[in-house]
């Protein structure tokens, strides 16, 4: 594989984590415009852990997931009282708050005569774990997709379990779920924390792929894309967000056909899909039909 293909596939893998985190919230009945905030928390925590304190990447990624889950839990506590558009606005405000905090953090250590660590708007350079440990681009691609594979297996297991059924019921009709004995608030808080952890894992991997992060990386654009990927791909299965990412980055970008017009095409695609297929390409009906035809047969 050439450098370009490896780069595109790595980006598809990385952005899938945040798309899946947005998807998880959508099927639980909440739409978040703020998953980029937790992606950023993960990126900064993991970057600090490896570049400033010499932790290995797997430990740093676990720390990032913990921090992402904790941050999402704290954001979820007050915001889950809100519904629909108000919740979406609150999550966007929280993500912007995180971004501004990243702009204000100046926390550096001198390593071999060079300051390393977050330096406000100047960003955070020198997240070199991948280079120091001789991980080649193809190896890092395998690492990203290996983790994504594990996440997908977990999603598929959850979707086929009682937990998955509860999750979808919660998204469809929270009052019914409450009447059937589900503690709606506690359950949603758990989902919000899990989605935060997932986004943070993506952020940790992104920081180490890029070697440099800055607050601007985590602005609303990333959150809108994450949500759009989930909506384009479809809400019937966890493969939906992956399909959404593949359509945008893989087909629109990878083809180079649309070049600078890609964002216009992408915006148009989202608008058309929301009109004709409001629950995406792989919606519940399509997934049911595919299952009946190929799995049950």
């Amino acid at each position: 594989m050439d450098d370009y293909t490896i780069g595109v596939l790595t980006n598809i893998g990385l952005i899938s984590f945040i798309a899946l985190s947005a998807y998880l919230l959508i099927i639980a009945g909440e739409m978040s415009f703020g998953q980029q905030g937790f992606f950023g928390v993960g990126a900064y925590v993991a970057g600090v852990a490896t570049a400033m304190y010499g932790f290995p990447l797997p430990v740093a990624a676990a720390m990032a997931m913990g921090a992402g889950a904790a941050a999402a839990f704290l954001v979820g506590l007050p915001t889950l009282r809100l519904r629909g558009l108000y919740f979406a606005m609150a999550t966007l405000a929280a993500a912007e708050m995180f971004r501004i905090v990243f702009e204000l953090i100046h926390f550096q250590r001198e390593i071999d005569g060079e300051p390393v660590g977050p330096d406000g708007t100047q960003g955070f350079r020198g997240i070199r774990w991948v280079f120091e440990n001789g991980v080649e681009p193809a190896g890092y691609l395998a690492m990203v997709w290996g983790l994504l594979f594990v996440v997908m297996i977990l999603f598929l297991l959850v979707e086929r379990s009682k937990l998955g059924a509860t999750l979808r019921m919660l998204g469809e009709d929270p009052e019914l779920a409450r009447m059937l004995g589900v503690h709606v608030e506690r359950f949603k808080l758990g989902v919000v924390a899990a989605a935060g952890a997932l986004a943070a894992l993506g952020g940790a991997l992104y920081a180490h792929h890029n070697t440099y992060i800055e607050p601007r990386n985590f602005d609303i654009m990333l959150g809108v894309h994450a949500l759009a990927y989930a909506l384009i791909g479809g809400l019937g299965t966890a493969f939906g967000p992956l399909l959404g990412v593949l359509v945008d980055i893989g087909v629109l970008e990878g083809s180079r056909f649309f070049q600078g017009y890609r964002m216009i095409v992408f915006g148009g695609l989202v608008a058309v899909l929301l009109v004709f297929r409001p629950r995406g390409l792989l919606d519940e009906k399509v997934v049911h039909w595919l299952r009946a035809r190929f799995i049950s047969a």
Binding site: D112, R128, F131, T211, N217
Partner: protein
């Protein structure tokens, strides 16, 4: 408890040892086609030009991470030791984080922030000072 503290101290003190890092400068001028730039990269280490490096040049937009996948270009050695030349095919004007992936005598990735316009590329100034390389 004491054992855990010792382990923690060991982990915290086991910071990676770095060699002197590579410094890079970029100078770009627009080619005849829109959004294509001819760039010269100057690499130095310990104040001395760094020759013999293999450089792959890519770019990403900081405000839209991972959304633009600029085709990486292999840089060719320039006329002077430490100089390398590459052509960048960007999708639009604006701020780009140019990624220099180095292999050969040194393995590293350097990120240089430049504003690309019709005249060429200028280093990005943030909070009143240019971004550190």
């Amino acid at each position: 408890m004491v054992k855990s503290a010792i382990y923690l101290c060991l982990i915290f003190s086991a910071l990676p040892a770095f060699a002197q890092r590579v410094q890079a400068e970029l100078a770009c001028k627009p080619a005849k086609t829109d959004f294509i730039y001819d760039c010269t990269i100057k690499l130095a280490r310990n104040g001395q030009p760094l020759a013999g490096a293999a450089i792959t040049v890519g770019a990403d937009m900081p405000s839209m991470p991972m959304a633009h996948n600029v085709k990486p270009a292999k840089a060719k050695p320039g006329k002077v030791p430490g100089d390398y030349e590459a052509q960048l095919d960007l999708e639009m004007l604006g701020e780009w984080a140019v990624k220099l992936r180095l292999s050969g005598p040194v393995k590293d990735q350097l990120i240089l922030h430049y504003n690309f316009d019709e005249k060429g590329a200028k280093p990005v100034i943030r909070s009143g000072r240019p971004l550190r390389k």
